[in-house]
């Protein structure tokens, strides 16, 4: 539905997006994640044909954003970051204007405007001037304008920024609802939001795709290095700690509960294979030593932790590329 092939974009000598390829599929919500300056907005602007790629191609519903730009733009509903609007217009006036801009037939225009006003909870505000709206309502007005022409592809750049918790919940439900029937791409830096809303996540950093998959897949990929979590009765704490440290494959064990707690908890880090393989060994060792395990599980990282890890590792590889280690001098004598 939305296909990005080997796309790059440079501003002078600065490469904002570098050889990005990705596929945004229909019937799901794809989240585009990345730190500030990662190239998210540039990538989105190229997808929506606002900017032309320096190289590579983007197709929206089969229409190339350069060769068939108008058809590609007609297939997209786009909410830019910060929802830029005309402050002197009324909410309804602006939506009517967008209906004219997208060439909605007069016969269906009234119904389409009413539908998006209803869907984006703007009924009470329809006659209000945009300059008098709160940020949340401005965001909804921008969203209503993006949905007006019933586009098969919807691109939302930071749709929840500036919204209160209730509005965020409403926006999340709306995005999930849209994702059932359309191709939805959402850019966000609020990771718990993305985890709940998106079926698929693409993480970009320094203009390149660093990881992609469903939130579960990404978490699973990074779970192998996460520690095992063990809880025992406080009376058995010392024995349990010694037991774990004695196990082959355990790199370290760290007590995470306060000394006075009735239940003592530990994080156990595995060696090369990670901690997943340790769980049966820990269970067996505890059983044979007569130590009752209150809890034994592998810690699953959050999407936020995965994101941080991906970004940190990409930053390291970036600096390694930028400043390669000089070869060690060979001693001649």
């Amino acid at each position: 539905m939305l296909s990005v092939v080997d796309v790059s974009k440079s501003y002078g000598s600065f490469a904002a997006v570098r050889r990005v390829s990705l596929e945004v599929r229909p019937g799901q919500v794809t989240g585009l994640l990345g730190p500030n300056g990662a190239g998210k907005t540039t990538l989105i602007r190229m997808m929506t044909a606002y900017l032309t790629p320096s190289s590579g191609s983007i197709a929206v519903c089969g229409h190339d954003t350069v060769d068939a730009s108008a058809a590609a733009r007609a297939s997209i509903g786009y909410l830019p970051e910060a929802a830029p609007l005309y402050p002197e217009m009324s909410v309804e006036g602006y939506i009517q204007y967008r209906a004219g801009l997208f060439g909605l037939p007069r016969a269906t225009r009234r119904a389409a405007v009413e539908a998006v006003i209803e869907r984006c909870w703007l009924r009470e505000m329809r006659r209000r001037r945009i300059s008098a709206l709160s940020k949340g309502y401005r965001q909804r007005t921008g969203l209503a304008a993006a949905l007006l022409h019933n586009p098969p592809v919807i691109v939302l750049d930071e749709p929840t920024s500036g919204l209160d918790p209730t509005q965020i919940r409403g926006m999340r439900d709306l995005i999930c609802d849209l994702g059932k029937t359309r191709t939805v791409l959402v850019s966000s830096h609020i990771l718990p939001e993305v985890e709940q809303t998106c079926d698929r996540v693409v993480i970009i950093a320094a203009g390149q795709v660093r990881a992609e998959g469903s939130p579960r897949e990404l978490i699973d990929q990074h779970a192998s290095n996460a520690p095992a979590f063990i809880s025992v009765e406080a009376a058995n704490a010392d024995r349990a700690e010694a037991l774990m440290k004695g196990l082959v494959g355990v790199a370290s064990a760290r007590r995470v509960s306060p000394p006075s707690a009735p239940i003592a908890s530990f994080e156990v880090f595995g060696r090369a294979d990670g901690s997943a393989a340790l769980l049966p060994a820990i269970a067996r060792a505890a059983a044979s030593a007569g130590v009752l395990l209150v809890e034994l599980r592998q810690v699953r990282p959050s999407l936020e932790q995965v994101f941080e890890k991906v970004i940190t590792s990409s930053a390291h590889s970036e600096s390694a590329e930028a400043h390669p280690q000089p070869p060690r001098p060979v001693l001649s004598h």
């Binding site: 900017l51 032309t52 786009y78 830019p80 910060a82 217009m89 204007y97 967008r98 801009l101 921008g142």
Partner: protein, 235 residues
């Protein structure tokens, strides 16, 4: 194009600037009419009015056109506009048409002068018609230049000043240059001056070469503005 034109035209009246331009234009033209035309012994025509009022357009037109695209660039509304399926030329032409319509609206109160002359004497209608046509054509050219300049910057002030200076440079510079330019070049340089052509309209002469000049030059600057928007996508 129509959606853009209607929105833009309406927005002139939603901001104080639009009303200020209309009021100032009506006030200054009223003074000119009372002091230059409505004087005993003067002929019942608007020739004096049209003859001196092209100069006011050098300031009024940049004030109308300065926000057309600069404001969109500054506030970011250019992004939803350029991601709509409308072509760049349609967007720019819509904005230019709205500015021209607003200029015509600002000119409308001066029709009272025509009514006054009609009531007091029996003026010739032809020169008045050609005078208004000349004002609209000249306004159209200056607004087209302003539309082009406003597509180049996010600053309204800069757009206003750059348009003003560009027009002044061509209007005053071409007359000076024509006087010193060598033989075949002087005609070309003097032909660039729009104000030199407007005198004929004030006299009641509608020269098709003048009309063609204004229409073609306006179209050229509107097209240049559309090209600038297209180039923005390649930045």
């Amino acid at each position: 194009m129509l959606a853009v034109a209607f929105r833009e035209y309406a927005s002139f009246f939603r901001t104080p600037l639009g009303w200020l331009v209309v009021a100032l234009f009506a006030f200054l033209s009223g003074i000119s009419f009372v002091t230059a035309t409505l004087v005993p012994g003067e002929p019942a025509s608007l020739r004096a009015f049209f003859g001196e009022w092209w100069g006011l357009l050098i300031v009024v037109c940049p004030a109308i056109s300065m926000r057309l695209l600069s404001e969109e660039i500054r506030t970011g509304t250019i992004e939803p506009l350029l991601t709509s399926p409308r072509a760049e030329f349609g967007i720019v032409a819509g904005k230019f048409a709205a500015a021209l319509a607003f200029f015509a609206t600002a000119l409308a109160p001066t029709l009272l002068f025509v009514a006054t002359l009609m009531a007091l004497a029996r003026p010739e209608v032809g020169p008045m018609f050609s005078g208004y046509l000349g004002m609209l054509l000249l306004g159209s050219l200056y607004l087209a230049v302003g539309t082009f300049v406003s597509s180049l910057t996010a600053s309204q002030t800069l757009a206003f000043l750059a348009t003003l200076f560009s027009i002044m440079l061509v209007e005053f510079g071409s007359q000076r240059l024509a006087a010193i330019a060598p033989q075949p070049l002087d005609r070309f340089v003097s032909a660039l001056s729009a104000s030199a052509r407007i005198g004929d309209f004030a006299k009641g002469i509608v020269d098709t070469s003048h009309v063609a000049f204004f229409v073609c030059a306006s179209l050229l600057f509107v097209s240049l503005a559309a090209i600038t928007l297209r180039v923005r996508r390649w930045r």
